[in-house]
Every structure is written in structure tokens, then in C-alpha cells.
Amino acid sequence: MAEKEVKLFGNWASTYTLRVEWALKLKGIEYEYVNEDIPFNKSEELLRLNPVTKKIPVLVHNGKPLAESLVIIEYIDDTWTKGYSIMPKDPYDRAQARFWAKFADDKCMSAMYSVSTSSGEAQQKMLQEAREAFQILEQALGSKKFFGGDQIGYLDLAITLLAFWIPILEEIVSVSMVDNENAPLLKEWFTRILDVDMIKTSLPPRDKMYELSKQRREQFFSGQI
């Protein structure tokens, strides 16, 4: 019934797309994947489906399009109610999960970006802010195995992209954003989450991402992007 009518527009290098793919996989939903050549060669279909932000990922279910990865994940959980539970059930826990996902996107991602696109003293300042942000983020994990508890949940899906990107950027920029000093538990979670089968087998090749990140950083510093 509903399963064949699921289409996902994304990009191989987009960790936001991966968030949605993981949600679909956890629910066991079959979907058609369309790779978009972003940012300069978006398909007409994508632009028609998401004329507002023109971005991927876009999920189309029964002909109806949705954008924004975290919005899509909640939609998936709301719609396919049998099977794996992605969001917590309790309203307070849900509020907390949404809060931390927003914190990760607003503070941690932008801190990570700032560190990799600055240099000298400015970079040192950005690095300090980033380290503090990750230290705070660790509060959401505590001593749990995953952010979702014993099993991965919404917040794990939201934050895994940090586990993937941070080590790569740390290597390129030669800094330490998450380590045993500021966030030991988070660091352990990085290793644990990247070892989860579904995640391990779906992440883009590290060396490809490394090269892409290096390239983008160079483009940034030379004013191309």
C-alpha cells in the first residue's frame, strides 16, 4: 500500500539525507532514491516539489512532498506507527529530544563550520566555543548507550552527522573539538554510533568525504563559495 509510494530526493554526500534514510530503514520502509546533483544542477522535479527552499532531502509519500530532515523524521514516525519507535512517547522526553536536535544543528554544526572556515586567533576563539558546545551536548547523552537509551532514536539520527564530520574536520584543520578532556562520553558515542550496522553500511566513503571537505574549505578560503 503505502510502501511503494515513497520516494526520497537526496545527495550521496548529504548527511541530512542520511538522517531520513536511517529513519526509513529503521521502519523497514521501501523507497526509491533519487540522487540530486547539488548545488548547481538540481532537477526540475526537485524544484517543483520543494519550490520554497529548493533543498534536499525531500520525501514524497503518496505524491505529497515534504522537506526539512527533522520534520521528515517526525512525519515518518507519525505515519508508520507500527514497528520501530523513533521519537520518545512522553511529551517531555519529546520536547527534550527536539531541544537537543535544535541545539546540535544551531550551535554544534555552526561551531564546527566556524572552526573549519576561520584561522589564527579567530579560529582559537571558535574552537573554544565549539568545545564548550560539545561539552553541553554531552549532557543529553549522560551515561546512556545512545541518546535514545538502549536503542538509537531521533536524537541519535539527528546527531550522527557530527560523529562522522568532526573527526574528518579535526584532521583537516588539525584541531581537537571533541576529546577526553571536554566530552569523553560523547567521544565514545561517536565510535559506538558509527559502528551500528545500518549506519556503518550507509555512510559515504570517508576518504571521499575528506577530499570533498578539503576542497570545499579551499573554495571557501579562495572566495569561490
Binding site: 505529497k64 515534504l66 507519525d78 505515519t79 511529551p91
Partner: protein
């Protein structure tokens, strides 16, 4: 939970407004604790140590922060009025548009007010585009939520009441009946809803407030919502 909830906020803040209207729609038992943002209370710092911002909803011993997250929590934790739609797709669309308001509509309008020269022209162009897009979502409906106000209407509360005030203080004329007849009609209807009316400050007071902070805002671009 029969316990009285506490909402830490200010009447001048459109974000606090969202949370307050949500609680009023649910006819929830709550106490509004007015924060002096220049001298933040111990309670605020205890319940929102990370961002130290309002609104903060304290329910039992738990605190919830970030206005749209508070609204969703209120919708889920309290019975009564349905703020978000029950259909999953409509719910997702409501969340999408609330985000759009926060990430595109508000910043473009805000920066249009407090910049000048070429920068301002750029922001005004963006603001016009986002307002047009937002207006398009009303598509023949009375409110974004349909016949009654919902999540997106609350998210757009700033557009309904604050935008007119800000542009008056800033001396620009972006949101007007000629260019945005549908959005302006919606704004009037929204502000007439009882729970919304109860939460809004007298317009003159808010104009005076922003006028007095004009220079500071122009310099820092940071909002001052006391």
C-alpha cells in the same frame, strides 16, 4: 498534571507570546512570571542554564524551552484545543512553515528594519519574497490552521502584531494592505482572537518600547524584548 504551570516570559517578546497563547488556548492553569531581562531571575537561570532566554515553561519540576518546542509540548501535554493538526502530513507541513517563519521570514524582516543602504535593499527584497511566500500559504483559508488558529498562526504572531510596530519605528513600509491584503486581513483576524488579545500588550506601549531602544538595536541588531 493538575499542578499550575509557570511561564517565564515578557509581554514584549513574540516568542513568549507563542507560549502564552498556547497555554491560553488549552485553558491551562498557569502563572505568568514576568522576567526583567536586564536582571535575569535565579529561576530563569536555573531552568534555562544553556540559553538563559525566555520563554521557559516550568511544568512540575521539568522545564521546557524554545518557543516552538514549548508550544508542541503544551499541545501534547495538555488536553483540549488542538494546536497542531491531527493528520501527520498536515502536522509536518505546519512544522515546516513554522521553521520557515523562524529561519526566513523573521530574520529578513528584522534586518530590513535595522540596516541601511545596499544591505537594507537586499534584506527588503528577501523580506518581500518571504512575505509573499507566507501569504500564499493562507490560500483562501481564514487562518493558517484553517477555520481556527493553529501552530503556524502562533508562529506567525510576530508578523501579525510586531511587524507593523517594528516597521513604524524603523521608518519603513513593508507589510501593508496594498501589497499584502490577505496577510494583513489575517493579521487583524489573528489579533482579534480572545486568547491572543489577552496576551498582547497595548500597541502604543510596544511602539514606545522599541522606539526607545532603536539606536541600541540598530547598532547591535540584537532584539530587546523586555
Amino acid at each position: 498534571m493538575a499542578e499550575t504551570a509557570k511561564l517565564l516570559g515578557t509581554k514584549g517578546s513574540p516568542y513568549s507570546h507563542r507560549a502564552e497563547v498556547a497555554l491560553r488556548l488549552k485553558e491551562a492553569n498557569f502563572e505568568f512570571l514576568h522576567e526583567d531581562l536586564a536582571h535575569k531571575s535565579d529561576m530563569l537561570l536555573r531552568y534555562n542554564p544553556i540559553h538563559k532566554k525566555i520563554p521557559v515553561l516550568v511544568h512540575g519540576e521539568k522545564s521546557i524551552v524554545e518557543s516552538l518546542i514549548v508550544v508542541e509540548y503544551v499541545d501534547e501535554a495538555f488536553d483540549g484545543y488542538a494546536i497542531l493538526p491531527s493528520d501527520p502530513y498536515e502536522r509536518a507541513m505546519a512544522r515546516f512553515w513554522a521553521r520557515y517563519i523562524d529561519e526566513k521570514v523573521i530574520p529578513a524582516f528584522w534586518m530590513s528594519c535595522w540596516t541601511d543602504g545596499e544591505m537594507q535593499k537586499g534584506f527588503i527584497a528577501q523580506a518581500k519574497e518571504t512575505l509573499t511566500t507566507l501569504e500564499g500559504q493562507l490560500k483562501g483559508k481564514k487562518f493558517f490552521g484553517g477555520d481556527s488558529i493553529g501552530f503556524v498562526d502562533l508562529a506567525a504572531g510576530m508578523v501579525a502584531f510586531w511587524f507593523g510596530i517594528l516597521q513604524e519605528v524603523a521608518g519603513i513600509n513593508l507589510l501593508n494592505e496594498e501589497d499584502y491584503p490577505v496577510l494583513c486581513r489575517w493579521a487583524d483576524d489573528y489579533c482579534s482572537i480572545e486568547p491572543v488579545k489577552e496576551s498582547l500588550l497595548d500597541r502604543k506601549l510596544l511602539v514606545a518600547h522599541f522606539a526607545s531602544k532603536k539606536e541600541k538595536i540598530f547598532a547591535t541588531k540584537a532584539p530587546v524584548y523586555d
